[in-house]
Symmetry: C2
Amino acid sequence: MEVAAKAGRKVDAAWAREAFAAIVGDGGVLADDGALAEFHDPFVPTGTAGHRPSLVVQPETVEQVRACVALANRSGICLWTSSMGRNFGYGGSAPVVDLTVVLNLRRLNQILEIDVEQGYALVEPGVTFHQLYEALRAMDAPLMMSVPDLGWGSMVANALQHGIGYNILGDHASALCGLEVVLPDGDLLRTGQGAIANSPLWNSHRRGFGPALDDLFKQSNFGIVTKAGIRLAARPETILCGTLRCEGDGDVGPLVDVARSLLREDVMQGVPMIVGTPAETGSEAGQAGEGGVFTYASLRKVLRPGRWNLRFGLYGHSTMVEARLAILRQRFAHALPQAELEIRRYPGSAGLDEVEPRDYITAGIPNQLLLARLTGVFGPDLGHQDFSPVLPITGDMAVRYDAMVRDAMDRHGVVGAVGMMLRDGSMTGASMIMFDRREAAQLAAVRAAVGEMGKRAAEWGCAPYRAHVAMVDAVADVQDFNDHALRRTYGRIKDALDPNGILSPGNHGIWPGKG
Amino acid sequence: MEVAAKAGRKVDAAWAREAFAAIVGDGGVLADDGALAEFHDPFVPTGTAGHRPSLVVQPETVEQVRACVALANRSGICLWTSSMGRNFGYGGSAPVVDLTVVLNLRRLNQILEIDVEQGYALVEPGVTFHQLYEALRAMDAPLMMSVPDLGWGSMVANALQHGIGYNILGDHASALCGLEVVLPDGDLLRTGQGAIANSPLWNSHRRGFGPALDDLFKQSNFGIVTKAGIRLAARPETILCGTLRCEGDGDVGPLVDVARSLLREDVMQGVPMIVGTPAETGSEAGQAGEGGVFTYASLRKVLRPGRWNLRFGLYGHSTMVEARLAILRQRFAHALPQAELEIRRYPGSAGLDEVEPRDYITAGIPNQLLLARLTGVFGPDLGHQDFSPVLPITGDMAVRYDAMVRDAMDRHGVVGAVGMMLRDGSMTGASMIMFDRREAAQLAAVRAAVGEMGKRAAEWGCAPYRAHVAMVDAVADVQDFNDHALRRTYGRIKDALDPNGILSPGNHGIWPGKG
């Protein structure tokens, strides 16, 4: 068997295994099928060709990462980086190019610094949301995290993938502040103020002298991030968790419009989320394909009652939280007089035991509840593929998006949820299409449905903010201004930084040799 | 005479003038000394060699910009871009390399779009702060600007230089959203969502699929920005302008510490500024060198009474502004019981006639008051060079910074103001060292003083956030991590995007042929 290598090279897997073991030790190389299984796309039937890791290499130090990169350059072996690999809806640790060696950073898992006064943590890519949360609790740090739906993933990798949380600083990519990067030729770079060796500002001030390179290393294959600063909000006096429940199918329009104004006026904070609960239509028996359990009836068991639910948080000094709430009440009452507002208040220091589970996310407490609820209803073989286009934040677009996604799902006989994450300036669709991961035919139907959604969104000038490894080229194709000038530019930077084309070829549609 | 060209080429100025005139018309090329004077460093004595423009070329369209770049690549002529060229404290339009052709973008001065609902303007680089303000007033747009000290400059260029204003979105570089860029080889790129030709989100959502390239074109010579989206805050119901006056020399310590907490807790907003007014020392007669008028006594006429003044703004719904104010009053009273707080409230729609001039900046109204006040006291030949290091936001550092700058000024016999712009995570020193621009000896003393300040700040691990064209290499030198890995990386990107090395060589210490 061979591992993926740059064009014109052939590299034997057994040779590669030994060569990497010489760097990271025998325990740092996974090669047998059982151990590799965790690094496959978790939602494709076992044995499916394409996007398979050939080996998994797990360095423990930055120097080992650099040595692995040096080996790759000497031998032509291609590497694909992953951290925890928990982004299951997008392929987990699966590489774009079949049989690429996965350089997995799970063992680089140190929290290097927590600065309470300036408000940041400096962490390695193997640090999970759970891990940092525990560390902050242990020192009773007056800091608050933003967390995504599931807390088991890498904080750094989530941010590098432009991941979104729901709290203050919920735009995780923008919350990064200062990176250490192993470049594809093995050079070691620190960005921003970190370019000054004795800087006291690496993780608290975003830019240095000259262009900021941090964003180059997000959603790209231009380098391997080995340390990152993450800005953390001050722990507020009060956290107010709210839910607005609407019953009308068309309520999502005024709901998005009122939330847009409240976000623009800095009354709402963080990233409020709208989730739709599909109404009973009477015609849904045939919609779930062969899935049996994958029906709208099952989905309704997971979701909250009502047609649309808006989940949001207010954070800060109590007097300011109450001032925000009063404005928000008035606006909601005016825009959606029938909607039902529920609120819960917590002190900012409240922990797992004091917060209602449904408020964990809003309160910045990492958890696995969503997964537990989903597998509780859909079983342990639940697979899902996520479709998440960036959309104009208007009520009209919300209505069109919901209709389009439901239509595509219906026509392909698949089932999923429709949601939207709201920010000042845009909203990001959050649709999770579900299937039985043992069934290749269901996966094919889901991929076809998501592909169709992508084409429809492209007609609106919109594209997903991230995508499954099997679909990255299709998304990159949508970026067509001036004959794909962006892709050309990516290609030129790629070849300058990675002349041998060994790092994560194909990631986000960026290929070597296209500059 | 020759114009600056890539190594190994010689290009005659008369030939260059004709070649550019064939693209932009005779009226678009300035070549005689009188017309060129405006594009020299405004603060060096007439005729000083170094950093001189040889020609100024003023295209009117993006296609003309691309044609100029094509000519530069064919002929080897080097171009230096400037927009309004009003960053006088850093050299105005002056290029790093003597006799470079200045490609001045002043005639690209269209406001292409103002979107009130999503909150942005799409503008060309010749649009000034004044110009956008007038346009917003004319349509009574419910939007608010952030403005720097003087309103005559280019909004785009200020943001590309990492410029800082004082309002919401006062980090102007981060307020940019979506760029159109002519690359050094003439290719035309749109960043972010603008990479989708029919995107409705180019100027309202910051990232596309793949790495965001926007920051590459700030403080760099990697491309010429011809259009930029600028995010604008919602016009608040109330603008509260405040000043806290402290009399004690050491008050700057607690002042910075309390402001840091208030910024971290999202009670203070925007970019509060502290300005020091030098105390009378009795020993200052000899400190002002030969300048005569350049004395601390003169400087005190320009600055506000008291030893330290904090200027800040609160913005939003009235109830929220009052909630912020109550917290702030309590904190100030606790930290600085002797300090005197003055506040003025305005409706967000208040214009020039309704706002006190000293509140124009805080209220987001562009103006030229600072310049008028300075030249009123120091005369029309006032020159200044700015020193503005990024520093940890701690009271201790504020005290050390003030002492260091005053010490360096004293020892070089020059005079200037000491200030700090505060943000969550850092503060930026704002020191303006003044001199008579007709006097080469004074300029030399100021440069020596600023050079020494740079060395002292470097010992703390700190560097200026921007710098005069004569000092950019010295600042870049401070970024020394891993044998200047950042500069090496800049060089590789530079050579990939600008293979002929024709665009703004030396800008921010980035030179072609170093990759």
